[in-house]
Symmetry: C2
Subunit: 231 residues, 2 copies
DNA sequence: CGGTAGGTTGATCGCCTTCAAATCGTGTGG
DNA sequence: CCACACGATTTGAAGGCGATCAACCTACCG
């Protein structure tokens, strides 16, 4: 029996309709860990020893090219599994995961994956759906990269982040973890210079308000309009 | 019992280590169909009624953006499943599939998916791996799009196509189905003009030889060098 | 309070798109 | 069998978007 209480995870959508017994099966063999901001959880190409679930915080996932250029893959929100290499039959992490902010995660040894999927088939189903959605999102990303302008891509990333990792503060929606121009550049395929120029421009038009590693959206409608194709 | 003989599929890598009995389970409920060049197999956003396996030929998969711009996703080779929407829990096709050349496919009703996965768990495992590899390939594509020049991206696509869909003809490797500049442009995020210019340039350097909807690589090493990061 | 990581802003350059027009290949109907 | 039509390709010219190079500024941290 696990030393982690099932109520810790019961409310996340992935586990909806799971019985207490099933939750306990899931938590069996799980360890909880705290990662302070900036700490690396796993590194690209390293042998995959564990898989993870984010309880609290935010994780930044990045990939590095053979030429050494870094690109941002995505941000993990609480309630998401990550590093599930066993699911797709690989034995090394395909990317690097870093705590974007102090975070608490659950982790299981990789060897636990197949037994768990067998014991809780419901979870295996979920995993497939998760993979499927990821694949779709990745395709959307490609479409954006090939058909949209820098400005549109940045607008889209910001909308996505505000939707999935945003917090309402008065009139504004602010992104709940520190994110730099460089980070946005790596996610949108731009240089930080371009990102800075565009954000400055938006700031002058009162669409966003941003500071050092902080971004807050003041005019969501305007941003949505920018993300849409127009001139 | 199916009217399709199991030897038709036995030699494809996906089915390696499958028993005759398992193969017959797979073929149960399968229909084989012939699609002439240019014919649409399924269309993006249409309700997913079937899933498919390519026996012979080549299938082009494309996506269309909300703004109406078309992009090329990939080419299916014989031995691959496609349109497996059930696997990722969606009920509409996420892209359009067209016969790039006269093709022969197997097709099953979507409703057959879950029973089959249950009857042949070995196949479910394979499907996960396939999805995983697809996800990885898609990420590679993103990396290429964000970090490489037009020339490098085109070189990479050509290398990929020659590897997976190439035929050795004397000194040259030619791509075994008709593919236009426009097609390559849609796969690499370029205009057909850029593709044409680059191919013309390569032709003058004796790296490729190409005609109307036909491409043949005459100097593989040179192409590999171009795909690599250089100046 | 100094050092440093993050951010801004200007100037220039080049790749690729866009616009335009000509040419080539292929299949088809008279 | 030839002429024609249309799709595919080539090539030129111009222009722009975003990268690159460069310098400076500013907020936070120890």
């Amino acid at each position: 029996m696990s030393n982690i209480n099932h109520t810790l995870i019961a409310d996340f959508p992935v586990f909806e309709s799971f019985s207490t017994q099933e939750l306990n099966l899931v938590l069996n063999n799980a360890k909880s860990l705290r990662y302070p901001i900036g700490e690396i959880i796993f590194e690209q190409s390293a042998p995959a020893h564990s898989y993870f679930f984010l309880l609290h915080g935010h994780i930044r996932v990045t990939k590095i090219t053979p030429e050494g250029k870094q690109i941002g893959v995505r941000y993990i929100n609480p309630g998401e599994f990550f590093g599930i290499t066993e699911a797709i039959g690989i034995d090394r992490y395909p990317a690097t995961a870093t705590a974007a902010i102090d975070s608490i995660i659950l982790c299981w040894p990789s060897s636990n994956w197949h037994p768990l999927m067998k014991d809780v088939p419901k979870l295996a189903d979920k995993m497939l759906k998760i993979l499927g959605r990821k694949l779709q999102q990745t395709h959307t990303r490609i479409i954006e990269l090939t058909t949209q302008s820098s400005e549109q891509r940045i607008a889209n990333v910001l909308l996505d982040l505000s939707q999935n990792s945003g917090r309402q503060v008065g009139e504004n929606t602010e992104i709940t973890f520190p994110i730099s121009r460089q980070d946005i550049a790596e996610m949108t395929g731009n240089t930080l210079h371009t990102v800075s120029r565009i954000l400055s421009n938006w700031e002058s038009r009162s669409i966003v308000k941003s500071g050092r590693k902080r971004i807050s959206i003041t005019n969501l409608e305007a941003l949505k309009a920018l993300a849409q194709k127009n001139t």
